[in-house]
């Protein structure tokens, strides 16, 4: 990322060249099994996103309508492809509509956390002093809570709806992004182009947002996938405790929680949403690992 150190970088992050990390591993085999895994993972994520986006135009029954006898096993008909749940509703459509919750949490909450946490971290890492101390105390206070308990308290304060869930989870992501942005900012604040900009009389906020931000955005954003996985787990745990999205709206965690007493008799009701959740988290972790390796400051030949 050294090449992008012109004195007037634009906020369009497109022209940031690839980090030299690639050049550092010339002996890499042509196509490693890892790459196939990354492609598969990306494919699964795209599939889930498309299904969730177009859930209402797909030829599947509504998620809250009884279509057949309860707890049917899978059959070849599309509505009954994955069977029915304890109330006779289509598991497939509940799974697809439930993906919306996980994805809303994965995207919007991560975005909230990244914007708030990133700004805090940038300012803390560049301004230092009192501002950094206050930011540290705030992030440490948020991290001192067991995350699930903080989530519980927040959602019981704001009431349980998708909006309050997304906001609380976003708040949960703030301290991590603050720390990430702060560490990355501190690494860049020592570089020559920042000194140059300061010598040219650049104001502090201009330096932070025009010089440092474009460099910090990618390494911080590469953690977004992993963070999305963490937040989807948190949402699932909350729903599992019965405190997520209120019924009848489906969410994967809620489906698992509703079926957990039938684990002995109809385990598929637990394992179908569990598999969807596991695959999504696994895919996010695989893609996230790849993204992180690409933008890791330590590895990019500093």
């Amino acid at each position: 990322m050294k090449q992008s150190t012109t004195t007037t970088p634009t906020l369009t992050v497109v022209d940031v060249p690839d980090p030299p990390a690639h050049a550092a591993e010339p002996a890499a085999p042509v196509r490693r099994p890892r790459d196939i895994l990354v492609k598969l993972a990306a494919g699964w994520l795209i599939l889930i996103v498309l299904l969730a986006l177009f859930a209402s135009v797909l030829p599947i029954p509504a998620y809250d309508v009884r279509i057949d006898r309860p707890a049917l096993g899978p059959s070849l008909d599309l509505a009954r492809l994955l069977g029915t749940d304890a109330l006779g509703r289509s598991t497939l459509s509940r799974l697809i509509y439930g993906a919306r919750v996980s994805l809303a949490v994965g995207f919007v909450s991560v975005l909230i956390g990244m914007v708030i946490g990133g700004t805090l971290g940038l300012l803390a890492g560049y301004l230092r002093g009192v501002f950094e101390k206050i930011a540290n105390i705030l992030t440490d206070s948020l991290l001192a809570y067991p995350p699930l308990v903080l989530l519980l308290a927040l959602t019981s304060t704001m009431g349980s709806s998708l909006r309050s869930l997304v906001i609380s989870l976003g708040l949960l992501a703030v301290p991590t992004f603050t720390r990430l942005a702060r560490a990355n900012t501190m690494a860049f604040a020592q570089r020559e182009f920042v000194t140059a900009s300061r010598a040219l009389g650049g104001r502090r906020l201009r330096i932070v947002f025009r010089e440092i931000l474009p460099n910090v955005v990618f390494p911080v954003a590469s953690y977004a996938f992993v963070m999305a996985a963490v937040l989807i787990v948190a949402e699932g745990s909350l729903s599992f405790l019965g405190l997520g999205i209120p019924p009848p709206s489906p969410s994967w965690g809620g489906m698992i929680a509703a079926a957990k007493d039938r684990l002995a008799t109809q385990p598929q009701l637990v394992f179908i949403p569990a598999a969807a959740m596991f695959l999504t988290i696994f895919a996010l972790n695989v893609v996230g690992d790849r993204a992180r390796r690409r933008f890791d400051v330590r590895e990019s030949a500093l």
């Binding site: 440490d140 001192a144 067991p146 308990v149 002995a264």
Partner: protein, 316 residues
């Protein structure tokens, strides 16, 4: 060490103040009046007002917080608004369960992690290493409640080897206690195993490149001796840090596992108190957990000096 401790304390005091005040504020903001919930639906407004006064809920938030702080300084954690049980008693009653789970989980994790990491690092890139890599990355992606459910399905419902819920106290029946703690501890351990194996393995691979390992091998020392005596100790810094962090996390946050297995631990107490709007209990548990975090951090620092005597001279 002393200076490090002092600067950490200077940082941790405002954090503790903010955390406890925040938990009081959050519980206070939650809709619903604890006095009304205690008395039930048939209560008259006068009765509710009287109970609010009796519980001290009619006074401003800051006054109540100040009073709570003063009591804490005297070692008085207050009484539960609900059950009138002293909070410290409730905590002391539940700590053994959570602590046993956490320690058991860590022991299980270490028993798997150390041999597995040593072997996969020694044969890095081999078949066992690749298999372990796939398994651990899959385990990392398992939410704790899914791991726990899967274990219940396998061991409790299918094999009927362990009870699915319930807790037998250690003093009542040591063997039964281990049986009832096994599944929840394993559920907690599995995630830790995945993370720790990956970290220890990569640290070990770095250590095994060192010259002194080469010279130890050249002397003709057996492989197991080189691995255990020469490579393991200098590679275990990240492992110790992780273990400290996860012990803190396990003590503070085994909420899901304790709820699923119906174990009377600290996490369950915290969840129930949050749901019941019992601010005094919530604050008590939160400050307890936060103190445990701090203590574990200091302990981890101390452990570094055992692992590597060179770290003792910092601050001089």
């Amino acid at each position: 060490m002393g200076r490090r401790l002092r600067s950490r304390l200077l940082h941790i005091v405002p954090v503790l103040l903010l955390v406890t005040f925040g938990s009081m504020l959050l519980v206070d903001l939650t809709p619903g009046d604890p006095a009304a919930t205690i008395l039930g639906e048939s209560a008259t407004p006068e009765q509710i007002d009287a109970l609010r006064r009796q519980l001290g809920l009619d006074r401003p938030l800051l006054v109540r917080y100040w009073e709570w702080l003063g009591n804490i300084a005297h070692g008085d954690f207050g009484r539960s608004i609900r059950s009138q049980q002293p909070v410290l008693d409730a905590i002391v009653e539940r700590v053994p369960v959570t602590l046993e789970l956490a320690v058991l989980a860590l022991i299980m994790a270490f028993a798997v992690v150390i041999p597995l990491a040593l072997y996969t690092a020694y044969r890095a890139g081999g078949r066992a290493d690749r298999t372990a890599n796939v398994v651990t990355s899959a385990l990392v992606s398992m939410p704790p409640f899914l791991t726990a459910l899967l274990l219940v399905f396998l061991f409790a419902l299918t094999l009927r080897a362990f009870p699915a819920t319930g807790w037998v106290r250690l003093l009542d029946d040591p063997l039964g206690n281990l049986r009832s703690a096994f599944l929840p501890a394993l559920a907690l351990a599995l995630t830790e195993i995945a993370v720790m194996t990956r970290v220890l393995r990569s640290d070990l691979i770095a250590t095994l490149q060192e010259d002194y390992i080469l010279s130890a091998k050249a002397k003709g020392l057996p492989t197991w001796y080189v691995l255990l005596r020469h490579a393991l100790r200098p590679s275990s810094f990240s492992l110790v840090t992780l273990a400290g962090l996860s012990l803190g996390r396990l003590i503070g946050g085994a909420v899901i596992v304790e709820t699923l297995f119906a174990l009377p631990g600290l996490g369950q107490l915290l969840v129930n108190a949050t749901l019941a709007k019992d601010a005094v209990v919530v604050q008590g548990v939160v400050i307890f957990v936060a103190l445990v975090y701090v203590a574990l951090n200091v302990l981890t620092d101390f452990f570094y000096t055992i692992l590597d005597p060179r770290t003792r001279v910092t601050g001089a």
